[in-house]
């Protein structure tokens, strides 16, 4: 369970990461703990899987990955784990989920594909289809980005900054 301090740490860590020599010291000051305590907590979250990564997320269009497609697959239930593990090994597949389908939309497996062009996305999907033997899929190209942001967890705990 997360206590109030955890929530405060997580909320403050959603804010601007200072690009200075000792960023954690500055973040710890915002939270009201020591740098050592903050690093210990973050290490603990990472071990527990709560912290997925420390790093950066790039704007994919700006770094040359202009095409993105959500690919919806129909996967026999017995093959979900095998397919999930196989598709995860591809660098071009950035997200990979099995999902509960709907009667009018039977696709139960989703991969996010990023590539430089639409043709490249299509070729990747074809390759994945061939490797897995899955032939029922829909490649859903994005035509407009209406919103892309990061979640602000526990915003009420970020106050006082």
């Amino acid at each position: 369970m997360l206590d109030n301090l955890d929530k405060r740490i997580i909320a403050v860590m959603q804010g601007e990461f200072p690009l200075v020599a000792e960023p954690y010291k500055e973040l710890a000051q915002r939270i009201g703990i020591t740098e050592h305590q903050l690093l210990e907590k973050l290490t603990e979250y990472r071990k527990a899987g709560k912290l997925r990564k420390m790093g950066v997320v790039l704007r994919h269009r700006e770094v040359g990955y202009a095409a993105n497609a959500l690919c919806a697959w129909l996967v026999p239930e017995a093959r979900l784990t095998e397919i999930g593990e196989l598709m995860s090994t591809y660098t071009v597949v950035t997200h990979c989920y099995s999902r509960i389908p709907q009667p009018e939309w039977p696709y139960n497996f989703y991969t996010m594909l990023h590539a430089h062009t639409r043709a490249e996305c299509q070729a990747l999907a074809d390759e994945l289809a061939q490797v897995t033997g899955l032939d029922n899929y829909q490649l859903l190209f994005s035509t407009r980005e209406w919103k892309k942001t990061s979640m602000s967890y526990f915003p009420e705990y970020a106050k006082g900054e």
């Binding site: 954690y24 790039l58 040359g64 980005e145």
Partner: protein
Amino acid sequence: MLTDFDKELLNLIQTRLPLEPRPFAIVAKWLEVDETTVIERLSWLKDHGYIRRFGAFFDSAYLGYVSTLAAAKVHPEKMADVAEAVNAYAGVTHNYERDGEYNLWFTLLTANQLEQDQILAVIANLPGVERLISLPAIEKYKVSVAFNL
């Protein structure tokens, strides 16, 4: 334009920002440059829009949040109104118009299931929304946006 050094730096730092008092000094050592060069270059990359977000990325499910991927069939004339109404929710982090029968796809994160149900019910009833389906995840196999530059 990204230089070869930028690409090397971004490839490293996408997933490997050290949890140490001087993280940029460690990255600098890997790249055989000094700490100031790393900090200055990262600031430049951030200011010029190559970096969307810097720092800690948490797992929503481990934090107790509930998530889903929703898809809507939206009348093209109402698309902008619907997309903006969907965007207004803080828990909607991705909202994309896509080719196909279901033409608006968004992710929704909420503190609990009730809140998710309520938001989806409101969206399903917006003028121009013909049908809304929710596709909650069963298993996450991969969530890692790291590009090879």
